[in-house]
């Protein structure tokens, strides 16, 4: 490739935010170049301005609140910033295509897949109806959808998440665009599906020779797909270079911190002896979600979320429950805490079966088994002050309110938050801080067992690492037993002594984490492990200033 014009050339791009935002510019002086046949990853944490840069290229910013203040965006040598809306409509879809994060909301649920593919072709080409149909089916074939003609007639809800993302890719590529912008296209997908989609994007992009701007927060994905990497931090480009260079020899402190925060895939050695007493024991748990059919909607099939699950959690141990979406892992966490009534089985703690207790007895027992939820924003009552949120449990269980509040302030310190923040409301905190509050609330009752349902999956990597460290730290200091539900094998490798791998409501494999990772027995576990993005890349050991 000699002296070809870059597909995209961004120089000195500045995007202004409305007055009263946390900073005046979402992006300050972004320079980026994408050549044909190149995948450039734009990496950054939430709020770094990475999605807005995609919006600027497509000219889809919510103007006039957010607008391009300075700089140029050249698409194949032509200035985009100066184009009229009519010209842009021609370019969008035909020359620049976009793949979104959430394929369910990006597709119109009222129209068939075929109709939506057809629409793209109808708007931008002069093909006849027959040609369009043939082209659409050809595209569905190219994205490896099983049985393209039937997929053509399917509605978005009738196909799986991964297949929807394939349809989105087929739509994006049907006009052979020169530039593809993919905004976190695999974030909403399971690991195995994610790997397939990444491979597909690579494969099609090589065939078409298009440039790809791939926006992501996940360094594993970067290691999997990128040719070049650009790292954004709060709107400022901190580092840019070839993927191998940035990944293995990062220069900027922020990049180092980000990469240092990626959990390594090496599980810790087993440290809890198998002689420790069992604190929580589940036997033969079963949960089926009953079919609910309306008069007109027809009967739906009952879904078995968990069938015949048995596990043991020992004192001081962390038991990981891993699996993809729909494997029933979240149902397990809710059955154990009895937020969901179970159909059959027993959960024993202190020789008592939690599932057989009366509501009153169960309320009493709840102080022994606490939960940390996935979404720290949703799980904290937005109208309560932090100190009241943390002290609520002890007060309900009969503690003196003044003492409970004093303890709550102490707990804030334990989770490394300033006690001065006690009288604030949850929305004044960042995601990671909220999760710390959630952890403090769980600890307030001094429980024997903590059930954590994906406690870090809503957080940025660097924050994730800090929260994981806090959890591990507290577990060791307070000798807690953790039931840790996660979909992220990297996170599981960091924290869990033993893991249970679930598929479709059943345990397919269980054992010490190190053993399962080193030598997976079941085919599904092997598939899961081989799908971890960037599994061949070991993050370099970097000492950061913060460590």
């Amino acid at each position: 490739m000699t002296e070809t014009t870059p597909v995209l050339q961004i120089s000195g791009l500045k995007i202004a935010l409305p007055k009263g935002s946390d900073r005046p510019y979402a992006l300050e002086g972004l320079d980026l170049e994408i050549n044909p046949g190149e995948i450039v990853c734009l990496v950054g944490e939430s709020g770094s301005g990475k999605s807005l840069s995609a919006g600027a290229i497509m000219r889809l910013l919510p103007e006039p609140h957010v607008h391009v203040a300075e700089g140029s965006i050249k698409f194949r040598g032509e200035e985009i910033v100066a184009k009229s809306e009519t010209e842009m409509r021609q370019i969008r879809g035909r020359d620049i295509a976009m793949i979104f994060q959430e394929p369910m909301t990006a597709l119109n649920p009222q129209k068939t897949v075929g109709w939506q593919l057809d629409e793209v072709l109808r708007l931008h080409t002069k093909m006849s109806r027959k040609e369009r149909r043939a082209r659409a089916i050809e595209m569905l074939e190219r994205v490896h959808l099983p049985d393209p003609p039937s997929a053509y007639n399917a509605y978005p809800h009738q196909i799986s998440g991964g297949q929807r993302q394939r349809v989105m890719i087929a739509m994006a590529l049907s006009l052979s665009p020169k530039l593809i912008i993919a905004d976190e296209p695999t974030t909403a997908l399971d690991v195995t599906t994610q790997l397939q989609i990444l491979k597909l994007i690579r494969e099609l992009q090589e065939q078409e020779g298009a440039g790809v701007l791939f926006i992501t927060h996940d360094f594993g994905v970067v290691a999997e797909i990128a040719d070049k990497v650009a790292v954004l931090r709060k709107g400022i480009l901190v580092e840019q270079g070839p993927a191998s260079e940035v990944l293995n020899n990062p220069q900027h402190a922020y990049t180092r911190a980000l990469i240092g925060a990626v959990p390594a895939l090496t599980p810790p050695p087993l440290k809890v002896p198998s002689t420790a007493p069992v604190v929580l024991k589940g036997t033969g748990l079963k949960k089926t979600f009953a079919a609910r059919g309306g008069m007109l909607s027809g009967k739906r099939k009952a879904v078995t979320a968990v069938k015949d699950l048995t596990f043991e959690l020992r004192q001081g141990e962390t038991l990981g429950v891993v699996g993809e979406s729909g494997s029933g892992k979240t149902t397990v966490s809710r059955i154990v805490t009895r937020l969901l009534e179970c159909d059959a089985g027993k959960v024993e703690m202190d020789g008592k079966d939690l599932l057989a207790l009366s509501p009153r007895e169960m309320r009493e027992m709840r102080k022994h088994i606490q939960m940390v939820f996935q979404d720290p924003m949703a799980s904290l009552n937005p109208r309560k002050r932090v100190v009241d949120l943390i002290a609520q449990g002890p007060i309900v269980h009969g503690a003196d309110p003044a003492k409970a509040r004093a303890d709550a302030r102490r707990l804030l310190e334990l989770v490394e938050l300033s006690p001065a923040s006690a009288s604030r409301f949850p929305h004044e905190f960042s995601g990671g801080q909220r999760q710390r509050i959630g952890i403090a609330r769980a600890l307030a009752l001094e429980p024997k067992v903590i059930v954590a349902d994906e406690p870090v999956s809503a957080l940025d990597v660097s924050v994730q690492a800090q929260v994981l460290k806090l959890l591990a730290d507290l577990r060791d200091r307070l000798n807690l037993s953790l039931l840790f539900v996660t979909h992220d094998l990297r996170v599981a490798a960091q924290l869990c002594d033993r893991i249970i791998v679930m598929q479709k409501g059943e345990i397919v494999e269980s054992g010490p984490t190190a053993e399962v990772f080193a030598n997976p027995q079941h085919a599904y576990t092997q598939k899961l492990l081989s799908s971890i993005p960037g599994r061949d890349w070991t993050p370099p050991v970097i000492r950061t200033d913060a460590a």
Binding site: T337, K367, A378, N381, R383, R424, E428, L445, T544
Partner: protein, 291 residues
């Protein structure tokens, strides 16, 4: 270089200040608030402006406005002062607006919260009752209730509350149904919090904003309902109410229109003020709905 996520953002100003800032962004809402304050002042100063009984004879019957300074807005066909009638009417209208709304919201919140939180047969029973009330047109039910209970001001207020609780009940039910599935409710349950506490301390504060907004609309509606009753001659004759005044002014509408026009303007402005305040509250309480 790395930001630790334990660093706190600067403290936000207190909620009330934030609330006021958002509220005053809406000009119309400020106008509404001003009108409301005027009506409130009228109600409070009625005794000072005219210490006597507003229903007594104050001048010659049907004195036109601006002719006699003792009765600046004129008198009706019985010689009663319209000006002081309007001041005393503000008391009745506000009283009915507030009390009837409290009754309606109280019943509505209780029924809606129970139905929405528990679901199942509780929901079925309560909603069938609600629907039974909704099938009868509001005003017809109100006429029936007043016919049975008599037209004392207390009964009228209660009756207005009873005919208007269905809408808030449905609204609260919908709010509860969406809120009860939220994680913070699970979190409270997981702490061992009782059902009553979850309903009233966890969910209700979060369900309040739309209810507060609707309450202002309800106040306007209650005032209109009372006026309509009074217009038909079913109001409490012992009190000067705007509706009563219009009802009586109707017979001299062609010769002395001012008898009905002044109280009419008072009703329009009061109802308008509540609607504008309601809209302002909506903007201030649900800032994300409208940007």
């Amino acid at each position: 270089m790395t930001t630790l996520d334990t660093d706190l953002a600067p403290a936000e100003p207190p909620r009330l200040i934030v609330f006021w800032r958002r509220y005053k962004r809406n000009r119309a809402a400020l106008l509404g608030l001003a009108l409301f304050v005027i009506v409130l002042l009228m109600a409070l100063t009625a005794g000072i402006v005219d210490p006597g009984d507003p229903l007594r004879r104050a001048g010659a019957p049907l004195t036109p406005p601006l002719t006699d300074w003792a009765t600046p807005l004129g008198t009706d066909q019985l010689g009663r002062d319209i000006f002081s009638g309007i001041f005393y009417g503000a008391r009745i209208s506000l009283m009915i607006g507030v009390v009837a709304t409290l009754v309606a919201i109280g019943i509505g919140v209780l029924i809606g919260a129970l139905a929405g939180y528990f679901g199942g047969w509780v929901d079925d029973v309560l909603m069938r009752v609600t629907e039974a009330f909704q099938t009868i047109p509001n005003f017809v039910l109100l006429l029936t209730l007043v016919a049975i209970m008599g037209s004392k001001i207390e009964w009228i207020t209660l009756a207005i509350g009873i005919v208007s609780w269905t809408a808030p009940a449905r609204m609260v039910r919908a709010e509860f149904m969406s809120l009860r599935g939220r994680e913070f409710v699970d979190a409270a349950r997981n702490l061992g919090v009782s059902n009553a506490s979850i309903i009233f301390r966890e969910i209700l504060p979060n369900a309040l904003p739309p209810i507060v907004v609707y309450a202002s609309v309800l106040m306007a509606l209650s005032i209109l309902l009372e006026s309509a009753l009074a217009f038909l001659g079913l109001g409490d004759p012992n009190y000067a109410s705007w509706g009563n005044m219009i009802g009586q002014g109707r017979s001299v509408l062609r010769t002395a229109a001012y008898c009905a026009v002044f109280p009419g303007i008072a009703i329009v402005l009061t109802v308008l003020s509540f609607s504008l305040v309601g809209e302002g509250l909506n903007d201030a309480l649900n800032p994300r709905q409208k940007k």
